[in-house]
């Protein structure tokens, strides 16, 4: 009897393995068939067709089988819908499958994509365009038309509920359909960000109206149909997203037959997976750069990014209201020590909000070096000899190191810092409905999807107080300049606007800028990777062998 029980249990175990390994868990989609910081030229004239809408010759699989690339993303996808897209993981997948009217090419230059010709009116309020003819949607959703363009962009104007990325198209009035292939984007005001972070990025991708209406709002979160070089073939939650080469792609065929996008959350795990040969490409932590740099089996790219990290001060908090206290803190903290300890001196020092390589970079920004005597003098000016503050930060290795140095530095000035390390979710919850009022000092980083100054300044306007402006700093002049910066198309005129905005921030001593952490990407020697301007996401469609 007992023997039979064991036999039965063994049989069940083996059977379950067979069933589990054989079962198709992937959510399959039916298939019908590095350059960064580059200056983006604002297109102002009609551009001749760059790519004929013909089917390019298909690359035949090599004798060793199809060319498959395994790429890591830091977390599984959760919302691919372009107007509510959740993060760079979704951006990465969306931009391999879908296309916009314009895109960044492999050198980081803005180029036309789905538009055949286009003209921007001198006042910047209309863009007349014609689409390439014969561009087909994947999976049998018909031909791309201006109806799809109108549907894609006017979705951002919805009010109930307003999409997360509605502000990207805030100036859009409507999209006018002239005929099947010709149309007009009509704007209420000029918008410079259109050419940097909107048209060539995820908010500018064209979705298939037919697919969206057929699939419904939930389905499009984890499925995608585009006109791009890769087809969203399947998604297996927590395991992988399979992108297959689109055999009917209208442009130049991509190099890889298949790209497996694998979610690996932990950096250390991803590094082991790279070394074990399970991944061909991954971002890694800055701390591990040297290890991979010295390994001939890998190519390491360290790319300046649009991420910016700083120590913020909540100026509404009674303890930090006095600018002298904030100056004391600014002179009390030794930023180079933070860079040495947390980044092994591999991250550059930031002196202002906008990173080097982005329009509006303030190269003459004042450099504050640690001066304990000066810090104490400022503290004395505010009639204080000592002060107790709390520093809130994410309890990662990086920020825990920051915290230790800040605490030790400020101790010398007479400021006692209590450390409040939080997990990611608890930390970001301060961005909800004024919870940031409780903050005093905080260490944080934001980033911009592309080198665009408005993406950096947008979080510090008055309407962001109670949301993401955790310094709770409200300056009407800054707000006016922010609007002016967005509405100024001429780059030469934009630049001084953003420098002036940073000067306003600096004058009020609301932050200690620390660094723009470079992004480190590792690939196998036979993989040629391309990263989007801004350094934050891989441009999968341009990956090739070398």
């Amino acid at each position: 009897m007992k023997k039979n029980l064991w036999y039965l249990l063994s049989f069940l175990l083996v059977a379950s393995m067979l069933i589990t390994s054989c079962a198709s868990q992937a959510v399959s989609s039916p298939t019908a068939a590095p350059s960064t910081g580059s200056t983006v030229q604002t297109p102002v004239a009609t551009v001749a067709p760059t790519t004929a809408p013909t089917v390019a010759p298909t690359i035949a699989p090599t004798a060793s089988g199809p060319k498959v690339l395994k790429v890591r993303i830091s977390k599984d996808i959760s919302n691919l819908d372009t107007d509510n897209v959740t993060g760079k993981e979704e951006d990465t997948v969306d931009r391999a499958v879908m296309e916009g009217l314009f895109r960044y090419d492999a050198t980081g230059k803005l180029v036309p994509q789905l538009v055949d010709t286009y003209t921007v009116s001198p006042d910047g309020l209309t863009i007349d365009f014609t689409l390439h003819k014969g561009v087909m949607w994947q999976r049998g959703y018909g031909e791309l038309t201006t109806d799809d363009v109108k549907y894609s962009y006017e979705r951002f104007l919805a009010t109930n509920p307003k999409p997360a990325y509605a502000d990207d198209w805030a100036s859009l009035d409507h999209v006018e359909i002239v005929d099947k292939y010709s149309g007009k984007l009509v704007f209420k005001t000029p918008q410079a960000t259109l050419w940097t972070t909107v048209l060539p990025m995820t908010s500018g991708l064209i979705v298939s109206k037919k697919f969206y209406e057929e699939a419904g709002p939930d389905k499009v979160k984890t499925d995608a149909v585009g006109t791009g070089p890769y087809i969203f073939s399947s998604w297996t939650p927590q395991q992988q997203i399979v992108l297959k080469r689109n055999p009917d792609y209208w442009g130049t065929q991509p190099y890889y037959d298949e790209i497996d996008v694998l979610p690996v959350q932990d950096d250390k795990t991803a590094e082991v997976d790279l070394q074990a040969g399970e991944l061909d490409f991954s971002n890694i932590s800055l701390a591990s750069e040297d290890k991979f740099q010295s390994d001939p089996n890998f190519i390491v790219q360290s790319i300046p990014s649009t991420a910016y990290s700083w120590i913020g001060m909540n100026i509404e908090h009674p303890k930090l209201k006095d600018i002298n206290v904030r100056q004391a803190i600014r002179y009390g903290i030794d930023v180079p020590s933070i860079l040495a300890a947390a980044y092994n001196n591999k991250a550059p020092k930031a002196n202002a909000l906008i990173p080097n390589g982005t329009l509006g970079y303030w190269k003459d920004a004042p450099v504050y070096t640690r001066d304990v005597a000066k810090a104490k003098a400022y503290l004395a000016k505010s009639n204080l000899t000592s002060l107790d503050l709390t520093l809130t930060y994410q309890n990662t290795d990086e920020y825990s190191t920051w915290a230790q140095i800040i605490k030790a530095n400020l101790q010398d000035v007479g400021i006692n810092v209590t450390l409040n390390g939080l997990d990611s979710s608890s930390f970001w919850a301060y961005g909800d409905s004024g919870k940031d009022k409780a903050l005093q000092l905080f260490a944080v980083d934001f980033s911009s999807v592309a080198p665009e100054p408005a993406w950096s300044t947008m979080w510090f306007t008055c309407d962001q107080v109670d949301l993401w402006n955790w310094m709770r700093w409200c300056n009407k002049q800054f707000d006016t300049l922010h609007t002016q910066g967005i509405q100024t198309i001429d780059s030469a005129k934009r630049e001084p606007i953003y420098i002036q905005m940073q000067q306003l921030m600096d004058a009020d001593a609301i932050a200690i800028w620390v660094t723009n952490v470079p992004q480190v990407y590792v690939s196998k020697p036979n993989v040629k990777s391309v990263i989007y301007p801004g350094g934050l996401a891989p441009m999968l469609r341009e990956f090739s062998g070398q």
């Binding site: 175990l13 379950s16 393995m17 067979l18 589990t20 390994s21 054989c22 079962a23 198709s24 868990q25 992937a26 977390k75 599984d76 959760s78 919302n79 509510n84 959740t86 993060g87 109930n160 509920p161 307003k162 999409p163 997360a164 509605a166 502000d167 709002p217 939930d218 979160k221 984890t222 297996t236 939650p237 927590q238 395991q239 992988q240 694998l262 690996v264 959350q265 932990d266 795990t269 082991v272 997976d273 070394q275 074990a276 040969g277 399970e278 991944l279 939080l422 997990d423 990611s424 979710s425 608890s426 930390f427 970001w428 919850a429 961005g431 909800d432 934001f446 979080w459 949301l467 993401w468």
Partner: protein, 317 residues
């Protein structure tokens, strides 16, 4: 026996109800807002409100518990707050991988731990006994995630002998088994050591019992005495920890699944906690709790089956 089973089932239901209530309370206790975490910095207030409502977060705890129970009676565990996918589908994808990992690890622990314990007990204080003791105590003290990292570095990174991540190609059983080797050893390591120590102690105790001495005096072979009579009784305490063992393995599986990027329940719950995807956390923990209680229940039944002296429905003494 029947009344015992009925009592245990009622107790199981009560435990599960308490788990659901606790998980609903957790939303209010644990800091971190799911809406801002899930939707990102650019989410509009209307979107945030919509998400909160879809998670029942704007409703009192008794309503949340009621909805969850009602869903269960309808065969549903709710909807994933992020993707909108049915949770039953996500769980049915993940659960088999965790169960296979846990059962394989447990089988491995039994296959290695029990012989080690028996060998030590039958060669007490010998050099080999001391060596086995050192090994088993070391294994007991090494957490599964540490063992996992070591195994990864040795067998996947240095030797390139075994895969480091995932579960292999769909439809390829051999590949699936190859991907199971390192995680199951990592997860089993603690239990190999623990079982070896438990069996050794238990068997040594039994070998000193009078009925063992009587058997030997009666001229029965040492092999028969050790393995048929003594070992059978020595294994009863081992059976008793089966239920607890499964729970412990499910807990350990979280780390192992993260390290080896295995798409099981541990990784599913961990990822959901990270983004405060409460419907998924609630359903995932509920499933694990259910399995834990179920395993304990069956372990108790097996215990009475193996040792007829134990009468579960009567008070001792």
């Amino acid at each position: 026996m029947v009344s015992y089973i009925v009592k245990r089932i009622l107790m199981t239901l009560l435990v599960l109800l308490l788990v659901i209530v606790f998980l609903s309370l957790l939303v209010h206790i644990v800091p971190g807002d799911p809406a801002t975490t899930i939707l990102g910095p650019r989410a509009t207030p209307a979107l945030i409100q919509k998400l909160r409502s879809s998670m029942d977060l704007d409703k009192p705890i008794y309503v949340q518990v009621g909805h969850f129970l009602l869903n269960i009676f309808h065969g549903s565990l709710g909807v994933d707050a992020i993707t909108g996918a049915p949770i039953t589908k996500l769980v049915s994808n993940a659960l088999p991988h965790t169960l296979i990992l846990a059962v394989t690890s447990f089988a491995l622990a039994i296959l290695l731990g029990i012989p080690m314990g028996v060998f030590s007990a039958t060669h007490p204080n010998s050099l080999v006994d001391r060596f086995v003791a050192a090994i088993s105590i070391s294994l007991t003290t090494i957490p599964s995630y540490v063992a996992g990292l070591f195994l990864l570095i040795i067998f996947a990174v240095d030797l390139h002998a075994l895969p480091a991540m995932g579960i292999g190609r769909a439809g390829d059983t051999l590949d699936y088994l190859r991907h199971l080797i390192l995680p199951s050893i990592a997860l089993a390591s603690t239990w190999i050591g623990y079982l070896a120590r438990l069996v050794r102690t238990s068997l040594l105790e039994v070998l000193n019992e009078t009925y063992v001495r009587t058997s030997r005096a009666a001229g029965l072979s040492e092999r028969l005495v050790r393995y048929k009579y003594a070992l059978k009784n020595a294994l009863i305490p081992t059976v008793a920890i089966l239920g607890v063992g499964l729970g412990s393995l499910m807990g350990g599986a979280v780390f192992v699944e993260i390290i080896f990027s295995r798409p099981g329940m541990g990784l599913l719950i961990y990822n959901s906690i990270q983004v405060r995807n409460y419907p998924m956390v609630r359903a995932g923990v509920f499933i694990v709790a259910f399995l834990f209680v179920l395993a304990n229940f069956f372990a108790d039944l097996l215990y009475t089956y193996l040792d007829p002296r134990i009468q579960l429905n009567k008070r001792q003494g």
